[in-house]
């Protein structure tokens, strides 16, 4: 029988306002691939951070290789052979593959870096695990899959015992994923354990020996993969109805079509010019409708929002607004056609943190609020007062710096910015990310009111209960394609999860 490498018991972790983990028992055996599953916010990241020494638990014990210990820093975990490969790579783009693999641990002869040893060892690693790694290439010029390989090579170069892979396949194609799985099998053969986090449940069945499922910070299931099916895993992950989390909004009656999208495609990411980000997207949006879009990270949901809004260029396809084909190549165009976008990252993409609430709220509507180029302060203040009351934005004063508001109130300021323009179509990307439950319900009510007033809304969210609570109709996306359309009445988390993770081809 194989030995237990890592055993965690009674792990608890609290953040302000959230019990992220409670009484979690988790163990990994030597030389197994262990799947760690759960919805967004279930506590996976927190648990991984505790294992990698980046966070300290409030309670609980950790045993590694038979001895109880405290993982106080990432360095301490690394010294034990616990290596984490994060979703966002920690690579230096301007250095070569070999330099990245040995970053901070360069082999030396005397005071000098031994380039020869470094390159030789990198090649040896590549050969042993069948990695496609040109040692002298700059990481900048590698594809995402190859960069992943560099991360793995780095993990292998430090004599690891336990490798944590946080959604390593989200950016990989199917063939690339298969290559990664081959490497994981080699690691298993060498007695190295892997914790594998993924949302793609078919992959879990394919590669994992056992799975642990987290739900709301607690363990909701543990099992050997042999007896599992995708359905049984989804049941462990979901286990509660959307209605328990969010009050479903009252029914609406959408009107005629306002937006039709035909064959929308986008190719070419910054790091990979051949990547297909959006592939032949077709859909229709009606007046007064909330159209939910559900998809995992990397499914193309945010790319779709940005493309429609003119923030990123499209490769092909037509956008038809109110029976008229429109060319939208910049956000300015989109706005002139009555489209607004609430981007996914409030602080980086929407707010001017150094400016006051008033200036943040009015910035897009200044043309309506100025005469001869001068802003009419009275009109501007009236506008702010109006939205402050109607959206219940809680703030000390209009002149308060927007960075001092809570996340929920900041989001209301961004929503008010678009409402002030009287949009026909509003795209909201992760409208309640990082805001507390009470404010979430308020934002949902707000979206409902906007839809009832005739605005067509596209709502993107990675939280399925949210999508289910607010949408009239839901589209699912995977790998840049729309994989399904479900009406409000017939939708459930299970169905959406299937469509998001398997897609049409695999589901059939």
């Amino acid at each position: 029988m194989s030995r237990t490498l890592l055993r965690m018991t009674g792990i608890a972790k609290q953040f302000p306002g959230v019990q992220a983990l409670a009484g979690v028992a988790f163990d990994v055996e030597e030389g197994e691939v262990h799947g760690l599953l759960g919805e967004n916010g279930a506590g996976k990241s927190t648990l991984l951070k505790i294992i990698s020494g980046a966070l300290q638990p409030d309670a609980g014990t950790i045993e590694f290789d038979g001895s109880t210990l405290a993982l106080t820093t990432p360095e301490a975990a690394l010294a034990l052979g616990i290596v984490t490969i994060y979703q966002e790579f920690n690579l230096v783009p301007s250095l070569t593959v070999a330099e990245n693999v040995f970053l901070g641990r360069e082999p030396v002869t005397g005071p000098f870096v031994s380039w020869k040893t470094m390159r030789r060892d990198t090649r040896a690693l590549a050969v042993r695990y069948g990695l496609d790694l040109p040692a002298n290439r700059l990481v900048r010029n590698l594809s995402v899959a190859q960069q992943q390989m560099v991360e793995i090579a780095r993990a292998l170069s430090v004599r690891s015992r336990l490798i944590i892979m946080d959604e390593p396949t989200s950016a990989l194609s199917d063939t690339e994923s298969q290559r990664l799985f081959a490497i994981m099998r080699d690691l298993r053969r060498d007695g190295i354990s892997t914790i594998f986090v993924t949302h793609r449940l078919s992959e879990v069945l394919q590669i994992c020996d056992r799975v642990t499922v987290l739900r709301d910070g607690r363990i909701s299931g543990k099992a050997a993969t042999a007896g599992l099916t995708v359905d049984s895993i989804i049941r462990m992950m979901v286990g509660r109805s959307a209605a328990e989390l969010f009050e479903p909004l009252p029914a609406r009656s959408p009107g005629s079509a306002i937006l039709t999208v035909r064959g929308l495609s986008r190719r070419g990411a910054v790091d990979d010019p051949r990547a297909v980000l959006l592939d032949e997207i077709n859909f229709e949006l009606r007046r007064g409708e909330i159209l939910g879009i559900a998809g995992l990270i990397g499914s193309g949901r945010t790319e779709l929002a940005r493309c429609l809004f003119g923030a990123d260029p499209k490769t092909a396809g037509d956008t038809i607004i109110a029976d008229e084909v429109v060319a939208i190549t910049t956000p300015e165009h989109a706005i002139s056609h009555g489209i607004g976008l609430v981007p996914e990252d409030r602080k980086q993409q929407a707010l001017f943190l150094d400016l006051a609430v008033r200036e943040n709220l009015s910035i897009a509507a200044l043309s309506k609020l100025s005469r001869f180029g001068f802003v009419k302060l009275r009109a501007e203040q009236a506008l702010v007062r109006n939205y402050r009351e109607s959206l219940n934005i809680r703030m000390a004063s209009d002149e308060q710096s927007v960075k001092n508001l809570s996340g929920g109130n900041q989001q209301k300021v961004v929503l008010a910015r678009w409402l002030a323009l009287g949009p026909r179509i509003l795209i909201v990307d992760e409208p309640t990310r990082g805001i507390d439950v009470g404010a979430k319900a308020e934002v949902h009510q707000l979206l409902h009111r906007m839809a009832t007033s005739g605005i067509a809304i596209i709502a993107i969210s990675s939280e399925l209960p949210e999508v289910l609570a607010i949408s009239d109709r839901i589209l699912t996306m995977r790998a840049g394609r729309i994989t399904g359309e479900v009406s409000r009445a017939s939708a459930s988390e299970e169905i959406l999860m299937h469509l998001m993770t398997m897609g049409k081809a695999e589901a059939a």
Binding site: F309, A311, P331, E332, A334, I335, L341, P343, Q348, Q349, A350, L351, F352, L353, D354, L355, A356, E359, I363, A364, L366, S367, S370, G373, F374, V375, L377, Q381, D398, E399, R417
Partner: protein, 336 residues
């Protein structure tokens, strides 16, 4: 009655906010008190007017530079552009390069007058700024590099058209813009304060001003809010160019002479004034009020050191240290 109160409580506060950073003011007052105690001549009205007159030319450029730095940009070419614009003004005033050495009556007869000279100087500045702004937004070259190129290009152009020597001796109407007074106030000082007031109004009360702060504060958010980011960026370089052109004209009037080597090193004084005045090099925060205070602060410092017979080499060292301290203080204040 409640209505009156409400109006007051909602009164525009941008002015207060721009005055909110009191640190440069406090430092300026402390400096003036120190010099007044150490050197009684410092407080004489003649000396104080002198300080103001000395800072007025770099101060004019600093007003324009405030717009650029608010967008997280920089313009290193202002000294060179100022020299080129001053030469252009002189050539127009003289009626051509041929009559450059003629002085007095002949020049007056041949020249086109100060108004045309001033307009040409500003046109040169506008064109230089537009070229650089366009290179920055269209070719996606960082402002530091584009204007470093400009620093060399404009200086070279100035040397080329000047052909080696200064162009001196303008008609009295021209010279008045540099040496004249209205009442007790030197004309350059009036220009400086007048344009500072206009720039302050533009930045705080107009749509364009808002856009400048927004683009500097978060360029991606500005783009996604539908602001004309490119147009705003080109505009700020045009504005600093206009101010460099005007300053070039005023400097040539004050010296009654234009030369290709005018304004060397001005970019440092100008940027220092803006930064000491509290405008962040990362964009998005700052004000023209701060820049005026920063300009005065540098002027007072140099003047006081001169009165106390501190060598000009030591002055340079002190100013360099103060620039670093001002930014360090800014970072410290932000981190709290």
């Amino acid at each position: 009655m409640t209505k009156v109160e409400k109006t007051r409580s909602l009164a525009p506060r941008p002015f207060i906010r721009s005055m909110g950073r009191f640190a440069p003011v406090i430092f300026l007052v402390a400096l003036m008190v120190t010099f007044a105690i150490l050197e009684p001549r410092f407080l004489s009205s003649i000396n104080l007017f002198n300080v103001m007159r000395q800072i007025s030319i770099t101060g004019l450029v600093a007003i324009g530079m405030t717009f650029v730095i608010l967008t997280a940009g920089i313009d290193l070419s202002v000294g060179s552009l100022l020299a080129l614009a001053g030469l252009a003004a002189a050539i127009v005033a003289k009626g051509g390069v041929e009559s450059r050495f003629s002085v007095g009556a002949a020049a007056e007869a041949a020249g086109y007058g100060w108004l045309l000279a001033m307009l040409v100087a500003m046109a040169v500045g506008l064109l230089g700024g537009w070229l650089q702004g366009t290179a920055i937004t269209r070719l996606k070259v960082p402002p530091f590099v584009v204007t470093l190129g400009g620093l060399s290009v404009f200086r070279g152009a100035a040397l080329l058209i000047a052909g080696g020597g200064p162009i001196s001796g303008f008609e009295p109407d021209y010279v008045w813009w540099g040496q004249g007074r209205i009442g007790p106030f030197p004309v350059p000082v009036i220009l400086f304060l007048l344009f500072a007031a206009i720039a302050h109004v533009v930045l705080t009360y107009t749509r364009f001003g808002r856009n400048v702060y927004a683009v500097g504060g978060n360029v991606e958010a500005a783009r996604l809010a539908g602001l004309p980011v490119r147009r705003v960026l080109v505009s700020v370089y045009v504005i600093v160019g206009l101010f460099a052109g005007l300053a070039g004209f005023v400097l040539s009037a004050r010296l009654n002479s234009s030369e290709a080597v005018a304004g060397i090193g001005y970019e440092l004084t100008v940027i220092a004034a803006v930064v000491i005045g509290g405008t962040s090099l990362f964009g998005g925060t700052g004000s023209v009020v701060g820049t005026v205070i920063g300009s005065i602060l540098i002027g007072v410092l140099i003047n006081g050191l001169v009165l106390m017979n501190v060598s000009s080499y030591v002055q340079q060292i002190i100013i360099g240290v103060i620039i670093v301290l001002a930014v360090a203080f800014d970072q410290f204040a932000k981190s709290r």
